[in-house]
């Protein structure tokens, strides 16, 4: 068993089991502090479900957030969209990228800025966000191939690991960056509990129940009741290596034999076609992350 702390400070958990117990108790008591849905993300969701929304309104929402505007402009000027002339305004970017894409990017970036953060765990959170965004992009293409809802799949893919930074931040809030906490042990417990916490967060944010379930059950998709197929899809997307990582031939072959593929009824050639788009995903990711 991993030893978490060597001092006698009773406020520090001594073992993985103890840390797990403390967090589990907080989760059960609904005492775990969950972040609010970032303002921009909330407004983007509101605009996407409103019939009256238009590009000007969305541009206005984004303009109010400086770093967000920079991200969008960087993406619009990225090789993925190959602009003939430099894109200098948000309106230009909107017409270049389209409202749907801007909505996705704005949601992802605002979550990255406000939720994917935990002091002392920056490298882990950075990896987690890159993986999540790539999973969102893969999930939407998988959904398109299966003729399922594309936006829902992106959202569930993007947020499937959102419980990780939330838990890390919760631990930091509980214990500060106490060096006596064993980093690996913390990550072990976070890995165990992140799906449950992610599902809770999605509920708190009033995201669609199907999305919340897919997040909560992405490591046990067959247990999902409301949206088992979406949960399976997200679980598979979670196992696709991040698009900017090298994929060995063995890893690629293993992916085509993934045990969830029969449940998605995706044949190797269909999966290969989706995986082949990793380069596109990587370019998008580069502009966002």
């Amino acid at each position: 068993m991993l030893q978490l702390a060597v001092n006698e400070d009773s406020r520090l958990p001594n073992t993985v089991a103890e840390l797990r117990q403390r967090l589990t108790e907080r989760i059960a008591a609904r005492a775990l502090e969950l972040p609010l849905l970032p303002d921009v993300a909330a407004q983007v969701i509101a605009l996407s479900t409103s019939d009256e929304s238009d590009a000007r309104e969305l541009a206005e929402v984004i303009r109010r957030d400086g770093p967000m505007s920079a991200h969008i402009l960087r993406l619009a000027n990225s090789p993925l969209f190959r602009p003939r002339t430099p894109i200098v305004s948000l309106q230009q970017a909107l017409s270049r990228l389209g409202m749907t894409q801007i909505r996705q990017i704005a949601f992802a970036v605002s979550c990255k800025q406000r939720v994917f953060r935990a002091r002392g765990y920056e490298p882990e959170v950075r990896v987690s966000f890159r993986h999540s965004f790539a999973a969102g992009l893969a999930a939407q293409e998988l959904a398109r191939a299966r003729r399922w809802n594309v936006e829902e799949a992106f959202l569930a893919g993007l947020l499937h690991d959102v419980g990780r930074p939330v838990l890390l931040q919760a631990i930091v809030d509980m214990h500060g960056n106490n060096r006596m906490l064993n980093r690996q042990a913390v990550l072990t417990v976070v890995a165990e509990l992140h799906a449950q916490v992610g599902g809770m967060l999605a509920q708190k944010w009033s995201l669609p129940a199907r999305v919340a379930e897919a997040i909560a059950f992405h490591h046990d998709p067959h247990a999902a009741k409301l949206a088992p197929q979406l949960s399976i899809l997200i679980s598979f997307a979670d196992d696709i290596p991040a698009c900017d990582e090298e994929q060995t031939p063995d890893a690629a072959a293993a992916l085509l034999k993934h045990p969830l593929l029969p449940h998605l009824n995706l044949y190797p050639d269909e999966v290969t076609a989706i995986i082949a788009r990793r380069k596109d995903f990587a370019e998008t990711l580069q502009a966002v992350a």
């Binding site: 909107l94 389209g98 936006e151 009824n265």
Partner: protein
């Protein structure tokens, strides 16, 4: 290794045509294998077509019936952010129940099902490759191809399943759009256009024809269009689509050859279907595909390879589940050398589950007129007590009799219950009953079935009115 005994019949596809072929062969005591590329049996009918769309239709129908039948007693309106998922909450249950019924039925009848893609490696041997890339082979005495069809992807419509859908993906929309353009005038286009219009969506249906459902009776279809317009739908006649494009913001713009631009939130492209035969290796089996991309068959559903049959959508229209089922059953009987009764034109009615419903059997009025004349009797549902009680105002039943007004040649119905009502006429046609039977027998009161008596009386009246003319013509001729 010991070679496995060949299967008497291998059926490729487990949609309506494949199921009935397999069940028929198994009931005849034969060893049957079904190969299904999807993880679940049932085909597009169960998972993407008939069952899901009819479940949504039932909700729309209930909504519209409540509005009509409750008078003004209660104000009913659709919440603005209504989720399609909510409207089809029963859908998953219905689909699962239907799929499990089919799977049980196959199991009960000793039919084996393999999950994977089929490919002929010789005329009598089929290789099946699973999702996990594992292969096995099946030898077959006879093969029935029932692989169905998928939505046609016309090059000029960039279907992205996000803003521009086809009929496989349209129900993946989570929210009802405010407006929808439906491209096409076939059964699927008509059904979805009228369902969404009934749910309060502003629907514009665009078809290159003068009217949708060109194979049906013109008067019946015009009656449907009246009802469609009443529910807020608009039909663009002779509308040729030049381009369809998402504006990148929130609107899909459909540009017509006339210059008109139809701007809607979403578009459903329902411009026909194409047969599924890619990857089957039909050339290895000696099965031909015609210029239209369909598998041609003879009257026994035999392809160019005499031991291989094809049924359902893969052989072309009418692409209806009921017809496909019957083709599957008949093909299996032919393959096994079992007798088949020739029931003629009255064997297969057509049912279009639009709102209002449309059903057709035998000849239309114009077909009968072209083939030696006809006397047509009509019954308006609004003139029936049941029609009044049920607020069914737009129903019409037409009986098409021969020129002498004695024999029934066709039944055409539009209105609530049309797909059920048509079967009364079907039995009369199969039994060769004279038109007067409908006048002489008693119908429950009040029922919509009374329309048969009213329409038959109309024929009797026209027949009587026509007699003196005919007599005088005979006299002059003599």
């Amino acid at each position: 290794m010991k070679a496995e005994r060949p299967w008497d019949i291998v059926v490729i596809g487990s949609g309506p045509a494949g199921q009935k072929a397999a069940i028929q062969a198994a009931k005849a005591g034969r060893r049957v294998l079904v190969i299904e590329r999807d993880a679940r049996v049932g085909g597009a009918c169960v998972h993407r077509g008939t069952i899901p769309s009819k479940t949504l239709r039932e909700t729309a129908l209930t909504f519209s019936a409540f509005r009509r039948k409750s008078g003004q007693a209660m104000q009913v309106s659709m919440p603005e952010d209504v989720q399609i998922a909510g409207l089809t909450s029963r859908m998953e249950g219905v689909v699962v129940a239907h799929e499990s019924f089919i799977a049980d039925q196959m199991k009960r009848n000793g039919i084996e099902v393999w999950h994977g893609r089929a490919r002929f490696v010789s005329p009598h041997t089929i290789e099946v490759t699973s999702v996990a890339s594992e292969s096995r082979r099946a030898d077959a005495k006879s093969v029935i191809i029932a692989t169905g069809s998928r939505p046609r992807d016309p090059g000029l419509v960039p279907i992205d399943h996000e803003n521009i859908f086809d009929s496989d993906s349209v129900l993946s929309m989570r929210y009802l759009p405010r407006s929808l353009a439906v491209l096409g005038g076939g059964v699927i286009a008509t059904e979805y256009a009228s369902i969404f219009a009934t749910l309060g969506v502003r629907v514009t249906m665009v078809d290159k024809g003068d009217r949708p459902l060109g194979f049906l009776d013109a008067e019946i279809v015009e009656r449907f269009l009246d009802a469609f317009a009443e529910s807020g739908g608009r039909f663009v006649r002779n509308g040729r689509v030049e381009s369809v494009a998402f504006d990148g913001i929130s609107t899909v713009v459909t540009t017509l050859a006339s210059g008109e631009q139809v701007r809607t939130e979403k578009v459903l492209c329902a411009l026909g279907r194409v047969a599924n035969y890619e990857g089957l290796g039909l050339e290895v089996a000696g099965v031909r595909v015609d210029a239209r991309g369909l598998v041609p068959v003879d009257e026994r559903y035999r392809t160019a390879a005499p031991h291989i049959y094809a049924v359902g959508d893969v052989i072309g229209p009418p692409s209806l589940a009921a017809t496909a089922m019957e083709q599957g059953r008949l093909a299996a009987r032919h393959a096994l050398g079992l007798g088949v009764h020739d029931l003629g034109a009255a064997r297969s009615p057509i049912g279009v589950y639009a709102i209002p419903e449309i059903a057709s059997l035998g000849m239309t009025e114009s077909e009968a007129q072209a083939q030696g004349g006809a006397i047509v009797g009509r019954s308006e549902f609004r003139e029936l007590a049941r029609g009044q009680i049920g607020a069914i105002e737009n129903g019409l039943l037409k009986l098409v009799a021969d020129a002498s007004g004695t024999h029934l040649l066709g039944v055409q119905v539009v209105g609530e219950g049309a797909s059920e009502l048509v079967h009364i006429g079907q039995m009369a046609m199969l039994g060769h009953l004279p038109i007067d039977t409908f006048v002489e027998c008693t119908f429950n009161f009040p029922t919509l079935a009374e329309a048969y008596r009213v329409a038959a009386l109309d024929i009797v009246g026209r027949r009587a009115a026509a007699s003196p003319v005919r007599t005088s013509q005979v006299r002059i001729a003599g």
